[in-house]
Structure formats: structure tokens, C-alpha cells
Amino acid sequence: MDLLIDDKVTALRAELRAFFAENLPAEYARKTLAGEKLTKDEHIHWHSLLRPKGWHVPLWPKEHGGPGWGPMERLIWEEESGLAGAPRLNHVSQDLLGPVLIEFGTPEQKAELLPRILSSEDWWCQGFSEPQAGSDLANLQMRAVRDGDDYVVTGTKLWTSYAHLCNKIFCLVRTSAEGPKQAGISFLLIDMEQPGVTVSPIYTLGGMHAVNEVQVEDVRVPVTNLVGREGGAWDITKFLLGNERLMGAWIGINMALARQVRARLEQVGPDGRKRSANAVLAQRVAEAETDLLALRYTTYRVLADELSGKAPGPEVSVIKVRGGEIMQSLSELLMEMAEAEGMVHPLTLPHEGPPIVPLEVEHMAQQFFDRRKLTIYGGSAEIQRNIIARRLLNV
């Protein structure tokens, strides 16, 4: 048994905290912790502050401009950046596509595209889900038909996060209808700034606009935009999702939420008493905190396995299920403790005059209802349980 807390880890934590204290604009942190959206320019500004260290691409090796971190350092980064309220938006480019290009890209693709991610010139979105392919991803229908040196692509992607802020999209496309479904899928890079690509917003609970529908109609994409071989997308996708494997715990954000929950519990409520005097509430908060501790150390256990050379397996599903559920309960506690003030719809509040409710509670209800998606997307809670049952329990 070893809790992985060595001098190296302690030093990194201290370094990150000092960096955030000095460099993270207070307004960015406030907005992030309160669930307010930052503008794209603010995100780009934050990335520019991280760029000298390469910390905006925590998964990348040094030779490509990253910090060259191992799994332990990345987890510490997750925790500390979440706790500090560091904004995070272009992670699809930085954490998902970047490592894919480094592993599977051609020398030309790497040379052209990695620097554009580093500089925030390119913002990529991920075109996976489709109207008839949600949990059942292999059922996807977007067609890419070879025509000379191009593919001609037609189809619809759904629930595409932040497509409205992105200039490029990587898509899973069907290049063949023959053989097993998975074998006919290819990984294709598509420029969104051209005719035939249409992005339409999908508004979700609380009036949020994060996801979109992306329609692609007869768009010509050079064959050189294929990543890996034709029909080889399934392995790339597994690699990509593998890089996301511990992110499902939302460990840093959950820790920041738990800190807010504890702080509100210790405050005086509208009845003039400390909220912690409510024994039921105090118990629910303590329960959420112990849930989070258990999640954190489960994440550490998976990490320890990984450090000892064991490939992470389906136990990651345990983390994904609990990470989402715990964030939902922490958000619910925050909203409930804010009582009437926590129920306002932020998009309807008047802008003139002093704030009607404290800024830190304006978005609580919207955040809670928005986080409903956590147990639905990226493999629903049911799919994760199927994985646990089939692969871990052999039933």
C-alpha cells in the first residue's frame, strides 16, 4: 500500500497552486466556479497564459509542446486546476484530438495541425453521435464516398459540443457498408468553414447552448485528411476514449463543488441559524463528501494499476458512473441550500441595477439541471453498467 504522495507530487501541487494564484485572472475563476460561461477570447487568453508551460495540453509529450507528464502528474493537474476554478473549454482539441494525431497522424498532419491547436488557432469539435447512433455508436450513418483524391461526405452529427465555437470537426464516417459495422468506419478531419457544413443550436435544460446539430452535405474532403487507415477508426476511437478514462470522475470540479457545499453549510441561513444546525442537511453533505473521497481513491487505485503497468480496464466505468452521480448530488445540494435565490433562471435576470441574487448562486439551478446530462452522454449509466456486468462479472 502506498498512497502515492511523494515529494514530487507535493512539489507539483505547490507549483500549480502558486501558478494559479499568480496567473489565473480572478474573474475567470469566479465565473468558472459559479457556472458562468467565459467568452472564446477569454479561453484563448487563458490558454496563452498556460502555453509557456504547455499545461493547456497536459497529455502531450515535450517534443510537441506539452509538459511530458505521466498519469500521476495529469491527475494532480485535474485536481488542482478544478479546485482553482481554471476554465476549460477547448479540451476536445487539446486532450482528445491532439494525442490521436500524435499517435496515429501522418508527419504532415502533425506538422500542420498540432501547432494550430497549441496556438488556439484551431478549435476542434468531435463528431461522433448521430440521430440513430447514440449509445450504439457503431450504427452511425454519415457517409464518406471516395471520389478521386477526395471523399464526398454527407450526414448529420448530433449533440456536438461547442460546434458553434469551432472551425474544424473530426468525424466518424462510414466508408464501407460491408462486413462488421465497426470495420466500415473511418476517422476523418473536416474543415467546417466551407459550404455544405451547417451548425444549428440545440438548447438544453435551463436554456443552455452547448450542443449542436452539424449537417454535412456533399462536402469534399481530401483523402489526406484521413487519420489512420480507411476503416480503422474503431481502434483510434478506443484510444481516444481511453485518454478520457479518468476524466469521467470530474475529480477537480467535484472537489471544488464539495468545497462550496461545505462553505455554504457553515453559513447562516434565512432562519438566522447555521445551516449545519439542520441535522439532515449536515448528514447529506457529509455523505456527499465521503462519496467523493471514495471516488477520489478509486481513481487513485486505477492510476496505481496504470503506473504499475496494468492497462486500465472496464473498472473505469465505475468511476464514470459515480463521477456523474456525485456531481449531480453536489450541484443539487448547492441549489437547495440557496433556497429561493437558487431557483432563478439566469437568462431572465435583469441586467441593470445591483444583482437580485448573489452572483455565486445565479447559475445554480441552471448548473444542476444542465448536469442532468452527465449520466446520459459519453456512454449512459446503463451502458457503463452493461460493461461492468459483461466484462468484469462475466454475466
Binding site: Q132, D136, L205, P270, V280, E339, T348, F369, K373, E382
Partner: protein, 381 residues
């Protein structure tokens, strides 16, 4: 015991359902929230239909045979996601008018509400979600024969449309004491009253109310001086039972809607409905709804009877309905997948409203505590 509706109640149910099916789909609802004129017009139509009068019993000029009639309307409102303020203007504030006024003043006030000409809002309970009226945001200072009101409340439900506010102000004692809260009826346009409008997350209208040096007299008083809290307690019991029944209507809709979606959504080559885990989930939704329905019905029938029974049943219903509503709403969105969290579908809107209902007028722990305290009192007697 008879849990079925009588002929009049069945007619009321059908009338409301037909009216809302014709006039209140999700797109119309979204438009209403951006158009105060259209909202006011719909309210007048509801008045003409007799729906507001159905929240008042015949002895005070209404059309209802008992307080249970309004619960039938609320159930249909839940089904159709209606955000019109029958709950605030007629059921809660209407109860305050019924219990706190008398004679010509009462007849005038209730008459104006039933005719759809006057909207009311209750400004009580500090920043609580309308519970604990012993905590107040407003003070009333004695000034000659009258009082001067001051204070600010950030979230007053239906404050956006109220023509008149019922302001709970402290006339004696200190915050948290049950004695010493008085109710004043104050016109929204009175000098010193100001508001800023917004909506809560479930799309109901609200406003911040600021009361600055507002002079009121005996004629503004609703109920006895210092005796406002017991009146509000009764009114909020009616509110609790109303939203419990609203939740039943919402859950009644979500279960077949979810079943239908799982029958048509194909993943992994089969309809979702073929997966036993989802069948059981929907069966659990049904079980929870039936339990909640029973207690919500009994709570509705207990409104006009013995006070202790009314309180006990209101709290029991609220605790059961809050749990059922959260579960049913959560699972309905879960089984609808991404569509469940899209604003395009009504499913997610029901989920939001069911969660807000869980918090409104006291959350589960508040009502379980109250139920326990009432049981203790009864045992000691």
C-alpha cells in the same frame, strides 16, 4: 371512501383538459413566457371558463363544492406544464382572502380574483421557498393609526404580474417568532413599491420586491395584527396539496410518454423497451406514482376538515410526492437520453418542474420533521 371524481369534478377535469390540449402546447407555452399580453389574455380566458372560481367554495362566491376541486385543475396543469398563477393568486392568496377578510371587503377582493381582473402575490418567508413565514423580510413600524413598511425580498413568486401584494411584515417581536407577523395588502403601484421581473428555472414568473417607506392603514390589514403566521400556514397547506396534485399530473404524463419512446427508439438492433432493466425502471416509476397519487388524493380531501389532519396529510403527501417526482423525472429524462435534456421536448421541462415542486413550500426534510412533530403532539394528547 370514494376516490373517484363525482360528475361535476369529472366535467371540470374534461373541461380543463380540452381547453389546455387546444391552447397550451409546448410551443405556445414558450411564446407565452415572452409575451405578457398573451399571458394576461390566457388568464382571462381561464376566468371566463370558471377555472379561477373553481378555486373558491360557494360560500365565498366561488363555484367549488370543496377545496378538492381546485386540485383537479392543478393535476391537469401538471400534465400540461401550465405556468399560469392559479396556485399563487387563487389557491394561496385566495385562501388568505377567504380566511383573513370578511363582509364586503372579502366579497370585493374574491370577486375581482374570480373575474380574472386581479393578480396577487404573497411576499412571505424571507429567502425560503415559501415556507417558515415566521422569518420575514419586511418590517412594519407603527406610525399614527397606521404603519410604515420597509424591506426587500429577492424572489416573490408571481410578483411579476401581481396587481396587489400580500406583504408579511413584522409588527412585533423578532424574526423567527410565530407571533408578531401581520399581513398587509398593498397595491403594486403604491408609492414606495418597486419590482424587477424575472423567471424561476421552471419558467414561472417572479419578481424582486423592494418596499421603501410605504404607508399603510387599518384598511390594508388582512387578518389580525400580529396574527399572520397561522393564516399563512393554512394557505401554504393548500399550496402544498395543490403542487402535490400538479406533480401527479406531470408523472401521469411522463410514464406513458417514456414507455412510448422506449418502444420506438432502436439501439443495438432492438427497441429500448426490450431491455428488462428499463422495463423494471418504468415499473418502479409506476409504483412510486401510485403511492404518491393515493396520499395526494387523501390530502386533497383533508383540506377542509380537521386542522391537525390537514397538516399531517399535507406533509405526508409532500414527502412522498417529492421523492416520487424526483425519481420519475430523473428516469424519464434518463430513458429519453439526449432528447430528455433538450428544450424541444416537454420531458425535460417536467423534470425541472418536478424538482422545483420538491423544494417549494418546504422540502422533504422540512415536511418529515413537521409530520414527526405532529405525530408526537398527537401521541402526547
Amino acid at each position: 371512501m370514494d376516490f373517484t371524481h363525482d360528475d361535476n369534478q369529472r366535467m371540470l377535469f374534461d373541461t380543463v383538459d380540452r381547453f389546455l390540449s387546444d391552447k397550451h402546447d409546448l410551443a405556445t407555452r414558450a411564446k407565452l413566457h415572452k409575451d405578457p399580453g398573451a399571458e394576461a389574455a390566457l388568464w382571462r380566458e381561464m376566468a371566463e371558463l370558471g377555472l379561477i372560481g373553481a378555486a373558491f367554495t360557494e360560500d365565498v362566491g366561488g363555484f367549488a363544492s370543496s377545496s378538492a376541486d381546485a386540485m383537479i385543475i392543478m393535476e391537469r396543469f401538471g400534465r400540461h406544464l401550465v405556468t399560469q398563477p392559479l396556485l399563487y393568486t387563487a389557491i394561496i392568496c385566495g385562501r388568505l382572502l377567504t380566511d383573513g377578510l370578511s363582509g364586503a371587503a372579502r366579497a370585493e377582493a374574491i370577486g375581482a380574483v374570480i373575474a380574472g381582473e386581479r393578480q396577487l402575490a404573497l411576499a412571505a418567508g424571507s429567502t425560503h421557498l415559501l415556507r417558515s413565514p415566521e422569518d420575514t423580510s419586511f418590517t412594519a413600524r407603527k406610525d399614527g393609526a397606521g404603519w410604515v413598511l420597509d424591506g426587500r425580498m429577492p424572489v416573490v413568486m408571481n410578483g411579476d404580474r401581481a396587481d396587489q401584494f400580500i406583504v408579511a411584515a413584522r409588527t412585533a417581536g423578532s424574526s423567527g417568532e410565530r407571533d408578531g407577523v401581520s399581513l398587509f395588502m398593498v397595491d403594486a403601484g403604491a408609492a414606495g413599491m418597486s419590482r424587477r421581473r424575472f423567471r424561476t428555472i421552471d419558467a414561472f414568473g417572479a419578481a424582486e420586491l423592494v418596499v421603501e417607506y410605504v404607508a399603510v392603514g387599518q384598511e390594508n390589514l388582512l387578518g389580525p395584527v400580529d396574527g399572520g403566521v397561522p393564516l399563512i400556514d393554512v394557505a401554504l397547506d393548500h399550496g402544498v396539496v395543490a403542487i402535490c396534485n400538479e406533480a401527479i399530473g406531470s408523472m401521469d404524463y411522463l410514464i406513458p410518454a417514456t414507455a412510448e419512446y422506449t418502444r420506438t427508439r432502436i439501439q443495438y438492433g432492438a427497441p429500448l423497451a426490450k431491455f428488462q432493466v428499463l422495463q423494471h425502471r418504468m415499473a418502479d416509476m409506476y409504483i412510486q406514482t401510485e403511492m404518491a397519487r393515493s396520499i395526494a388524493l387523501v390530502a386533497a380531501m383533508s383540506l377542509d376538515g380537521d386542522a391537525a389532519e390537514r397538516q399531517r396529510m399535507a406533509s405526508a403527501a409532500k414527502a412522498q410526492v417529492a421523492r416520487a417526482g424526483k425519481f420519475v423525472g430523473y428516469q424519464a429524462t434518463q430513458l429519453h437520453g439526449g432528447m430528455g435534456v433538450s428544450e424541444e421536448l416537454d420531458i425535460g421541462h417536467h423534470y425541472i418542474r418536478l424538482n422545483v415542486i420538491g423544494q417549494l413550500f418546504g422540502d422533504t426534510s422540512f415536511h418529515l420533521r413537521r409530520f414527526g412533530a405532529l405525530a408526537e403532539t398527537a401521541a402526547a394528547a
